[in-house]
Amino acid sequence: MINVENLTKRYGKHTALDDVSFECRPGTVTGFLGPNGAGKSTTMRIICGLTPPTGGRATVLGSPYRRLGNPGARVGVLLDASAQHGGRTGREVLRLSARILGADPGRVEELLGQVGLGDAAANRRIGGYSLGMRQRLGLAHALLGDPSVLILDEPANGLDPEGIHWMRHLLRRFAEAGGTVLLSSHLLREVEAVADRLVLIGSGRVVAQGTLDELVASSGVRVRATDTLALRAALTAAGIDAETGANGPLLAHAEAERVGRAAAAAGVALVELRPADDGGLEQLFLSLTTGTTDDGKGVR
C-alpha cells in the first residue's frame, strides 16, 4: 500500500512536482509512466524519505517511510541500479544489507540464484557488471527482506528481452501473492505488459491515471462505415463528438454501444466498431514526451 497525497517539490523557482496524488493497492502493479525528467524519480525518492517534499505527504503501509522501523523488511527499493560501490562484489553488497535487515545469510544465496547471478558473477566486483547484471542484483537487493511492497525505478533498463520477460513474470507473481508494486518507466510498451494501473506524469503533474481499460476507453472508439459522410451525420445528430482518423475510420468520443445505436437509428451500415486500442494512450504519452522535450530546449 502506497499513498501519495498532494506532493509538491520546488527547487528555487523550478517546480519539479505539482500536486501529485495517487495510490497503489495491494495485489496490483502500478506503472508510473512519464518521459525522462517528468518527476518520476523525485516522487519515488520522496516516498522513500530520501528527499523532503515542499508540500504534501507520502506513506507506505500507512506510515511515512522513515517511521517504518526496519523499512528494508517491509519495502523493497531499487532506485538506481548503478548506485553501488564498484569495488564490492555482488554477494558482499547483499550480505552487508542482509546484516542491517536482520535477514538470514542463506537468503542471500537463494536470491542470487533466483535473479540468475551465478557464483562466478556474484564473486565479481560490481565495477565489471553490465547494467543488466546490476539490475538483477538490485532486484535481489530489493527482495532481500521479504517485503510486501516494491518500489522500482526503471528496473527494466539494460535488461535483455529474456530478462525483461523474467522480471515481468516475477512482478506479476509478487502482486498475485498480495504484494504492492510501483514501477516507473519511460516506455509505454514496457509497463503496459505488466501493470494493472497506470499513472501518467508529465512536467511534474499527473495527467492521467486509472486501469489500462479505463485509460483505453477514455481514448474513444474507432468506427468505420460504408458511408463515412452518413456516419458522421448520424453521430452529430446523436450528439457524439467525432474526429477523422487515419484513412477512413472515425474516432468517436463515446462508448461503443452509443455509437452503434446512433448508427443503427440512422440506418448506417458499420464495417468496424472497436476500442481505439491504446492508440489514444500512446498519443497522450507522446504528447507528454514532446511537450517536455520542447520545454527542455527552452531551458537549455
Partner: protein
C-alpha cells in the same frame, strides 16, 4: 509486559538494526574493497617503515618502547584521518548513500555508527602501532646500539590515542561537511599548510596559531607536556577544526537530499 506478535515476520519488520550492528557493517565496509584494504595496509606499512628508520637513524636513547611508539604516531596520524574522511564521503562518491539511507532512514544512527567505527579503527591503529613498536624494541638491542627499555607510561599511550582521535574526528567532520572525497582530502591537507604559511608571515597570527593551529596544539600530546594551558589550547583549536565541522556536517548530512 510481554507481548507476542503472531504475525510472521512482523517482529523483524519493526525492529531496527542496533547501533552495534550498524557499526560492524561500517567496519566491514572499510575493508571489503581493494581501496579500503590498501588504505588499512598503508597505515601499518608507513608505521613499520618509520620504525625501521628509527632503528638506524637518530639517537640510541630514543630506541626504547616509548621512543618507538612515539615514532609510529606521526606517520599513522598522516593517514588515519583519510579513513575518517572516506568513511563518510565514499557513500557519496560511490552513491551508496541511497542504499544506506533507504535501509536506515534515521540518518543520525548511520552517523553514530560511522563515528563508532572510526573510534574503533583508531584504537586498533594505536594497538597495532604499539605492537610494532614492541617488535622494533625487541629486535633493536641485538641489532644496533639501543636503550631497549620496556617502560611505557599509560599516559603516553592515552595521549597517543587522543592525538589520533583528534585527527580522525577532524577527518569525519570535514567529510560530512563537504560530502565529497576529493574536496575533503584537499581541504584536510591544504588548509593547515596554508594556515601555517600565512601565520608564519603575519606576526599577529602567530599568537592566534598557538591557540588555533591543531598541528601546534597537538604537539604537547606527543611530547607528554600537557599543562593546563596546553589543554585549553588543544580544546580551543579542536572546537574550531573538529567540533564545528562535526556539528555542521551532521546537520548537513541529516538534511541533505540523497540522489
Amino acid at each position: 509486559m510481554i507481548a507476542i506478535d503472531r504475525r510472521p515476520g512482523t517482529s523483524r519488520a519493526s525492529r531496527q538494526a542496533s547501533i552495534w550492528c550498524l557499526t560492524t557493517v561500517e567496519l566491514r565496509k572499510t575493508s571489503d574493497t581493494r581501496a579500503g584494504t590498501a588504505l588499512l595496509a598503508a597505515i601499518a606499512v608507513v608505521a613499520a617503515g618509520r620504525l625501521v628508520a628509527q632503528l638506524f637513524i637518530g639517537e640510541a636513547a630514543d630506541r626504547d618502547l616509548t621512543g618507538f611508539f612515539h615514532a609510529a604516531m606521526l606517520p599513522v596520524s598522516l593517514l588515519l584521518p583519510v579513513l575518517g574522511i572516506l568513511l563518510v564521503t565514499s557513500e557519496w562518491s560511490q552513491r551508496t548513500a541511497q542504499t544506506t539511507f533507504t535501509l536506515v532512514p534515521h540518518r543520525g544512527r548511520v552517523v553514530l555508527a560511522k563515528a563508532a567505527a572510526a573510534v574503533l579503527l583508531t584504537v586498533l591503529a594505536v594497538a597495532v602501532s604499539l605492537a610494532l613498536a614492541a617488535l622494533a624494541n625487541a629486535v633493536a638491542a641485538p641489532l644496533v646500539e639501543a636503550d631497549g627499555s620496556w617502560a611505557l607510561d599509560m599516559r603516553t599511550l592515552a595521549y597517543g590515542l587522543l592525538y589520533q582521535l583528534v585527527g580522525v574526528c577532524v577527518g569525519l567532520g570535514v567529510g560530512m561537511l563537504l560530502l565529497n572525497s576529493a574536496a575533503a582530502l584537499v581541504v584536510y591537507y591544504i588548509l593547515p599548510t596554508v594556515w601555517s604559511l600565512v601565520a608564519g608571515l603575519v606576526e599577529s597570527l602567530k599568537a592566534a596559531a598557538r591557540w588555533l593551529d591543531l598541528t601546534v596544539t597537538t604537539q604537547p600530546l606527543l611530547a607528554g607536556e600537557m599543562t593546563a594551558e596546553a589543554w585549553r589550547r588543544l580544546g580551543t583549536s579542536f572546537a574550531l577544526w573538529g567540533l564545528l565541522p562535526l556539528v555542521l556536517g551532521t546537520i548537513r548530512l541529516l538534511r541533505s537530499e540523497v540522489k
